[in-house]
């Protein structure tokens, strides 16, 4: 038997086009707020793991004092030699990391930049441009520059692209930039430079080869990283921490999420967006229920139960959620695009976020519906005669 029913919720919503559009706009707005906050939050976490994600190593050693990639502290190089004694270790190299003051070659203004130095025999990062230019950084005071750095570097980049070198100052020392690579800016620094360990130590006079920022350990093929991590932990003294690469990236993300107020601020933004949505949908549903109260009372008089009316209100809530979410999501994707090109922050919309925020929107609308249906109790069929 065909039981098709009149879609009362849908018909009531589209009957009042103005209100329907306002409701959709309100929900879209709330969704944009939420999606932008989530976008910024994960962009923040992503930008600070761009470099760690590119590290070519199976196991990472850091000082036990290390907090994040911009605040690594140093540990003795001896730990690397100790690690290398394990039979399953293929290589153990030092990575030197420091923030430096440099002069923007285009504008001649000073700014902070992240400088990375490593053994040119083995590229520390999985970047094709680095692998091609390993020879270049062996020249004294020669560095490679991240062309995705935030700031005005158009002229310098154009010059380097044509094969010329750009001269500027880093830590008061004259340096030459002869090559480019692409990573992206982060919250630690607007950009980065890479060079050989020798050049790094020449530029940062206070640093010595014996004090390492990060240890990059590569294992022989077929060796289990987790097992070796445990072995290293028991072997090495407590002045170093041992991570698999995955764990290192996760701890970096975790730092920004929990140890700073940034994670909290963005989560707070999501909560505010959610509450704005709840209030907007509540207003709309409440006035919708109030307007239809005589009609609902009539339905009750005809023998419709309270649960039928509850269903109508919740159906309206879910229709609003979905109709409001679609434009909200599309606009957010557009805003992500704009933000990405304006700030070079890696704002992307992963499918899981699309599904999660849709779920959140439905929860938001149903929660508002639950507050609004209390009004239904006053739909007394005895009052309409």
């Amino acid at each position: 038997m065909n039981k098709r029913k009149i879609p009362l919720a849908w018909k009531q919503l589209i009957r009042q086009k103005g209100r329907f559009i306002i409701a959709i706009a309100g929900i879209s707005f709330a969704d944009i707020l939420i999606l932008m906050q989530l976008g910024f939050q994960s962009a923040l976490l992503d930008t600070n793991t761009l470099l760690p994600k590119l590290i070519e190593a199976d196991i990472i050693l850091t000082s036990s004092q290390a907090q994040n990639f911009g605040l690594l502290k140093e540990f003795p190089r001896r730990r690397l030699f100790q690690a290398k004694n394990l039979p399953q270790v293929e290589s153990a190299d030092a990575l030197y990391v420091s923030l430096g003051n440099w002069k923007n070659p285009d504008t001649s203004t000073e700014s902070t930049i992240l400088v990375l130095g490593f053994n040119p025999a083995r590229p520390a990062f999985n970047l094709p441009e680095i692998k091609q230019n390993l020879k270049l950084i062996q020249y004294p005071d020669t560095l490679l520059f991240d062309q995705n750095s935030r700031g005005e570097y158009e002229n310098a980049i154009a010059k380097i692209t044509t094969g010329k070198s750009v001269t500027t100052e880093l830590q008061g020392r004259k340096i030459y930039i002869k090559g480019l690579y692409q990573v992206g800016s982060s919250f630690i620094a607007d950009g980065s430079l890479m060079t050989s360990d020798q050049n790094f130590l020449r530029i940062f006079k206070g640093r010595t080869a014996g004090e390492v920022s990060l240890g990059l350990i590569k294992l022989k093929p077929g060796i289990d990283a987790d097992f070796t991590v445990n072995e290293l932990k028991s072997l090495l003294p407590s002045d170093v921490k041992v991570f698999t690469l995955k764990e290192f990236i996760a701890s970096e993300k975790n730092y920004w999420q929990t140890s700073t107020s940034i994670g909290f601020i963005f989560s707070f933004g999501v909560v505010v967006g959610f509450l704005v949505g709840v209030i907007i949908v509540y207003q709309i549903l409440f006035s919708d229920v109030s307007d239809h109260l005589p009609e609902y009372a009539t339905l009750k008089a005809m023998g419709y139960s309270n649960s039928y009316l509850l269903r109508v209100v919740f159906q309206e809530a879910i229709i609003l959620a979905i109709c409001g979410y679609i434009p909200g999501c599309l606009i957010s994707i557009g805003l992500y695009e704009i933000t990405r090109s304006a700030t070079s922050l890696p704002l992307i919309m992963p499918p899981t976020r699309i599904i999660q925020t849709l779920g959140l929107t439905i929860v938001m609308c149903v929660a508002s519906g639950a507050i609004a249906v209390r009004k239904l109790g006053s739909a007394d069929p005895a009052d309409i005669f």
Binding site: I6, L8, A382, F385
Partner: protein
């Protein structure tokens, strides 16, 4: 026709409010209405007509006395039973109370959806009754595009489409002009006679009293007269 009471009321009292504010609005009502009767109830405003109507319709639960509708005792009945009884009764209100977001056809069909009808039965039944009230050309109109008389005719179609045994109407002509008011009650009378249903109609409108088999008058919560249109019996 065997006379069988569809509405049977004995010693019904009803009160509004609680405690010190408790006020009696219906006093010792006794009323029996048989199958197929058309009864008009008149009386000044505030006399308790509408209260009695809502009690009979199961829209309020009655407190003391006996109120039997279609053989079911509604005095002290559960909300579930009241809901079940409401489905067997057609209501026509003073203001049409149509659902503004539904078309003529949907307004009639929604009254069928609480009963077990298939999609095609629904379409057929609603088309038949809309034809009977003369609005077959207005099937897909929304209430805002119908005149007052047309809206009230849709309301009649909605009340009668599921063949209820009882139709309760509260001032169905109050918002209508003389001609359309007359048309509306004659239509009610005609359709009710066809379906053999009982009508209890509350009105102030003297122009329509002649359609009734019996007129009852209420005053100050008491049933004043219970007169057969031809006879002249008065119960004080």
């Amino acid at each position: 026709m065997i006379n069988q009471a569809v509405i049977d009321i004995h010693n019904l009292n009803h009160y509004f409010g609680k405690g010190n504010l408790r006020k009696q609005v219906l006093f010792d009502i006794n009323l029996t209405i048989d199958v197929g009767e058309i009864v008009i109830m008149t009386g000044p405003s505030g006399s308790g007509k509408t209260t009695l109507l809502t009690l009979i319709g199961g829209l309020r639960s009655s407190q003391s006395g006996s109120l039997q509708i279609l053989g079911e005792e509604l005095c002290g009945a559960s909300e579930k039973l009241l809901l079940k009884m409401r489905r067997k009764i057609g209501y026509i209100f003073q203001s049409h109370n149509l659902l503004n977001s539904l078309t003529t056809r949907e307004n009639v069909e929604i009254s069928l959806e609480i009963h077990d009808f298939s999609y095609y039965q629904k379409k057929q039944k609603s088309a038949e009754i809309i034809e009977a009230v003369g609005l077959i050309n207005h099937l897909n109109y929304y209430p805002e595009n119908l005149s007052g008389g047309q809206k009230q005719r849709v309301a009649i179609a909605r009340a009668l489409v599921s063949n209820p045994k009882i139709v309760l109407a509260d001032e169905p002509t109050a918002a209508l002009d003389k001609k359309s008011g007359r048309d509306v009650v004659e239509l009610m009378q005609k359709l009710a006679k066809q379906q053999g249903c009982t009508i209890l109609l509350v009105t102030h409108d003297n122009r329509i009293l002649d359609i009734a088999d019996r007129i009852i008058t209420m005053e100050d919560g008491c049933l004043l007269s219970n007169e057969q249109l031809q006879g002249n019996k008065i119960f004080a």
